[in-house]
Amino acid sequence: MTKYTDHLDRPIVAVTGFGVVTSLGTGKNENWRALTEGKSGIHAITRFPTDHLNTRISGMVDFLESSSKGPWELTYELAETAAVEATQQSGMDGDRFDGPLFLAAPPVETDWNTRFALNDMAGGEADDGYRRLLDVARRGDAKDAFERSQFCSIADHLADRLGTSGLPITLSTACASGATAIQLGVEAIRRGECQRALTIGADGSATAEALIRFSLLSALSTQNDEPEAASKPFSKGRDGFVMAEGSAAFVLESLENAVERGAQVLGIVRGCGEQADDFHRTRSKPDGSPAIGAVRAALEDAGMAEDEIDYINAHGTSTPENDKMEYMSLSAVFGERMKSIPISSNKSMIGHTLSAAGAIEAAFSLMTMLEETIPPTINYETPDPAIELDVVPNVKRHAMINSVLSNSFGFGGQNTCLVMTREAV
């Protein structure tokens, strides 16, 4: 008889469908093919002029209908596309999901095109700034812009489109958001609030302003000359992350519900762990204790020991700081064995998809188990001698992987880790 509860007597949570979009393409199969071929989606920016910018490359998604329409539209389309793939795979009725929605999304503000458009409509004194925009708004000429200015609106449109139930939650834990969305879904099922949940991480917010903001924090790679080689996690010459867009969605379901309705179980979300860092807004505590705590919490939540992890899907941003700290924290948890656990960074190929990263990398973690293949860390030509890891350099590796740890660490001290397995026990 199948056991439906875990070591803490909570419902086991299965994945019965998932979908992905990145700069490498639409859908998990297209993405997986490119990812395992070691193909990079990083390219020169064409969406806006790059004059005056130190970073002129990104992993933007430029092939969707909304790619040039603005961050609200693109984030919505990314989320919807991944969600439809996920619900179809799980065998759900596409527009009557009937479970809660957890959306990890960037805080999308009114964009510059909208501000310019309002300003043009205004007339009056040229130097009046927001007063002019408020005047136009007061005349009632800005209703479209209103919808895009509301932080709840993307999730609201998704809820209508997909037929999710209740008040959807839109969340942000910076670069850990996608993992947090999964965690919230898992927790809701474990609490018995629902039998299934739809969790999405989507980010289509790579505007010039967003890029400049990250650039001003010295977070981005400036290796513009060879875009596909710019993201080089764990390498000596790494100099920052490459900003990117994408999405991933999951149908999470209590194992019992999935088995009873005859759905294919694609994997299990066995444990989630998190710990906030109180050290600094962009840097982690020098001793790595919050990241260590998050990894340990995920293992504990999964009811698993360190030696039961077969593969680690790294946060691996390619910033000097992250990769060093991630190595240090993992070494503290896994000890000597860390040198031989395969660990790779999808960001070497797709860049840092920010609010979507935790979700996309969870999707690729599932693919790793399902396809028995570890995607490589590309651009690993000159290893950082201070980081002794088996990063699955440059070429994919065939391996039977039964369990994955996926890390997400974000600005504001957000650390979230997921443990996923092929089987429930």
Binding site: D9, F48, P49, H52, L53, A105, P107, E109, T110, W112, R115, F116, N119, A126, D127, G129, Y130, R131, L133, A137, R138, G140, A142, K143, F146, S149, Q150, F151, C152, A155, D156, A159, L167, P168, I169, T170, L171, S172, T173, A174, T180, L184, A188, R191, G192, E193, A208, E209, R213, S215, L216, L217, Q275, A276, D278, R281, T282, F411, G412, G413
Partner: protein, 397 residues
């Protein structure tokens, strides 16, 4: 799984009425005349402005203060008040194991930089290049962090050392509803023993006002009570700057450290009503009230977060008009609309009223009626000005 009772053991409040529970209680007991409203600074809009705050009292390092825009500072400050009120503030272990759920919007933009870009755009055809040119040279590097939604929670972790789990929900009033609902569910199920939950909103910024006015939601001066704005120019919302944070605990956890609770939270209901049909919307609110309140006494005090937004307020007033026991107190008359903080603020006021065993006087004598019942439970509401709604029943513990 055994259910745990949820107790409110700490409250932090800041609004135009002042800071802390005592100041709020006193001003609110004085009724409508105590409201502080400024209809000049952002004319034709009125705002309920922030009081003077000595930030150093809760955020000792000036370096930390500088890293935040006002809404983050306000939230971090108010979270400190709540922790202090709960007797947790200097307990390193309790803070380290405490979970945090914040509801947040975005931060205030740099008005001067935006103004100069807009002004220059009238003379330029290469506006995309103009953005690059201006933003790369004029934006303060750390402003990004001071605006990021999840950095309110991040700053609370840094300043107050609250480092259990940390989640930030976004999306106007609904995010405040979900934050409370999630925190309560965590405690009830035993996932959390103690949670810090709340939000902050600073309205005194043209960018924040614009987000309402793009949809035509702001009321225009002169000021009028929430229930009486439909015929006046504008969309009915008068905003306020303010914040509310709550410390929620399982009642065992509170008892083990000998903390008396203000009140408990016995139910939270959230929804996303279809508002296209006025009657249906009103009926959904009424159903939600019955679901949240259950069987109630002949008189039920309702601490209402009604924003003044015409359609939503009309529907809420209509719904409670059909619930004979309801005695409405629309606190936006006193504080203005606090957006993400509206629902946590409503719950805080409900809990205060229960702990004092005293109802609030009417904030608008023309539409609100006296309360002469038992204060065993109080209903807190937030019907979003545009979308999403929630209610909670706060009960004597």
């Amino acid at each position: 799984m055994s259910e745990h009772d949820v107790a409110i053991t700490g409250i932090g409040l800041v609004s135009s009425l002042g800071e802390g529970t005592d100041a709020h209680w006193q001003k609110l007991q004085a009724g409508g005349d105590a409201a502080l409203i400024d209809c000049d600074r952002f004319a034709p809009y009125c705002v309920h402005p922030l009081p003077e705050i000595d930030w150093g009292l809760q955020i000792p390092k000036r370096g930390d203060q500088r890293q935040m825009e006002t809404w983050q500072r306000l939230g971090t400050y108010t979270a400190g008040l709540a922790l202090e009120d709960a007797g947790i503030k200097d307990d390193i272990e309790l803070c380290a194991s405490m979970d945090l759920v914040a509801a947040a919007g975005g931060g205030e933009r740099d008005v001067e930089v935006d103004r100069s870009i807009l002004a220059e755009s009238e003379r330029r055809n290469d506006r995309d290049v103009l953005i690059n040119e201006k933003l790369t040279t004029e934006l303060r590097p750390t402003l990004f962090l001071a605006q990021l939604s999840n950095l309110l929670a991040g700053n609370i972790s840094i300043v107050h050392k609250v480092t259990g789990s940390s989640r930030t929900f976004m999306g106007e009033e609904g995010s405040g509803v979900s934050a409370i609902e999630t925190a309560v569910a965590r405690i009830r199920s035993g996932q959390s023993s103690h949670v810090l939950v709340g939000a902050a909103f600073q309205c005194e910024h043209p960018d924040m006002l614009l987000n309402y006015e793009l949809g035509g939601f702001l009321h225009q001066a002169p000021w009028r009570p929430v229930a009486d704005r439909e015929a006046a120019p504008g969309g009915g919302v008068v905003t306020g700057s303010g914040a509310a944070f709550l410390v929620l605990e399982s009642s065992e956890h509170a008892a083990a450290r000998n903390r008396r609770a203000y009140a408990g939270i016995t139910s939270v209901v959230s929804g996303r009503a279809n508002r296209s049909d006025a009657d249906r919307f009103e009926n959904e609110i009424l159903q939600m009230a019955h679901k949240a309140a259950g069987e109630n006494d002949p008189e039920l005090l309702v601490v209402s977060g009604a924003s003044g937004a015409h359609r939503a307020t009309l529907a809420e007033l209509g719904a409670f008009g059909d619930m004979p026991s309801a005695r409405l107190r629309c606190f936006s008359n006193m504080t203005g609309h606090l957006k993400e903080a509206q629902f946590p603020f409503a719950i805080a006021l409900a809990a205060l009223s229960i702990s004092k065993n005293t109802a609030f006087p009417t904030f608008d004598a023309n539409t609100e009626s006296d309360f002469n019942g038992d204060l065993r439970s109080v209903l807190a509401t937030s019907i979003g000005y545009n979308r999403n709604e929630g209610m909670a029943l706060v009960t004597a513990s």
